[in-house]
Symmetry: C2
Subunit: 219 residues, 2 copies
DNA sequence: TTTGAGTAGATTGTATACAAACCATAATGT
DNA sequence: ACATTATGGTTTGTATACAATCTACTCAAA
């Protein structure tokens, strides 16, 4: 059980449920950037009153996944190309630091967790199953974050993945895209497992640069 | 007007006001780590109903500044020494990245903003005014974050400062501590302004290491 | 045709009431 | 004396009503 699931297990209120479902939908792009969310509509949809909807929306705006309009309205966060590049730059720094730290701290458990996550990526990519791949890809990166042994670094990195999820999801248009991504993971893992922290950091930066370029193309 | 102030200017609800006041009190240590917050007590204190109090608390738990008890209760986040060191490690990485980026991107405006902020630190330190120094110190670091030109990096760094504020505040016990800190800034600025990004990064890491050690001693 | 004022409906923020869950203490049983 | 159960008070989560604010549309005047 990772940090996020532990938190979830203790909270089963309507507000929490709504927050999670919205977060999931945003991450996979089912709620599009810029889309307006409507309290009363959401209340009807989730079979609850406005109160837990508002509480969920408050938490999501505090997390930056939603943004509050100047006068009214709550919207799925959207970003210009410039903003997206700034987010990726920030993400770049975090991910490179993660890779460097992991390469210095690998142990049997973390190594096998990363390998297991990558196996799932390969299975999904070879099956051409986009939905499964999106999920496996997130799990792969999460395994790397967890391998830092630092929950705060993992949380920051995860937060950036949440924010960029909808944009990144669009680059996996074809079965070939899935296979390419899974192959890129192999090279990344090789560098991280080399215990050469500079190589690990550089490899992750390359991976993120490629990810960014594909994301720009797809958005 | 930086990112945070812009956001504030558009929101004057009771919930928002309560969130800000609690955040301020937590940052300066007026609300102690581990302290329990009580919805009805806060409602009375702020002259509002429980609803905006709950909304403020929801946002603060989403930001990690408060933590929700397993069954009930909301508490000011507290950290063991190990957790504090993990947070500082994460902060270390962000701050070092900031210093490196700033040294590569300095312009007249950002340079003069950093210098102005440091002047305020010196004034406060020489006056032995702890409260003013705490404020000026935060403004100094914020000027560095803003100089990255990347609001997302600045926001992450600011978030760590918010979380560690109560613990860091305790290291400024004497007037001499203020002067030492202000002198450390001078060295840091010199390296950042050298346009040598590796030196800037290393200098910031040294600064953060010293900060961490003093924080551990004081807590 | 354009502009400004007014209005109705929609949205937001909040207060309050109610029910469920939790917890501490007292009473009862072994 | 110790363990279990019951009870009352507190806390949490939510629904609903109300008031304030915002927005879009209509109509009249220039």
């Amino acid at each position: 059980m990772n940090l996020k699931e532990k938190d979830d297990a203790n909270r089963s209120s309507a507000a929490h449920r709504i927050e999670q479902e919205l977060l999931d939908e945003i991450s996979v792009g089912a709620l599009a950037p810029g889309q307006r969310l409507d309290e009363t509509g959401l209340a009807e949809r989730f079979g609850a009153s406005r109160t837990p909807v508002r509480e969920a929306l408050k938490r999501l705006t505090a997390q930056g996944v939603l943004v509050q309009g100047e006068k009214r309205g709550v919207f799925v966060a959207e970003y210009s190309r410039e903003q997206l590049s700034q987010i990726f730059e920030a993400m770049h720094e975090i991910e490179a630091a993660c890779a460097r730290i992991v390469s210095q701290r690998l142990n049997l458990l973390s190594r096998s967790e990363i390998e297991a996550a990558q196996s799932e990526c390969i299975v999904a990519a070879e099956a051409g199953d986009r939905t499964a791949y999106l999920k496996a890809n997130e799990a792969f990166h999460l395994a790397i974050y967890n391998a830092t042994g630092n929950p705060y670094i993992a949380e920051i990195a995860s937060e950036f993945r949440r924010r960029t999820g909808p944009f990144r999801a669009k680059k996996f248009a074809s079965a070939e895209d899935l296979l390419t991504s899974a192959r890129n993971h192999e090279e990344l893992i090789s560098d991280i497992f080399s215990e050469d922290s500079a190589a690990a950091s550089r490899s992750m930066r390359d991976h993120m640069t490629a990810s960014f370029i594909e994301t720009l193309k797809a958005n």
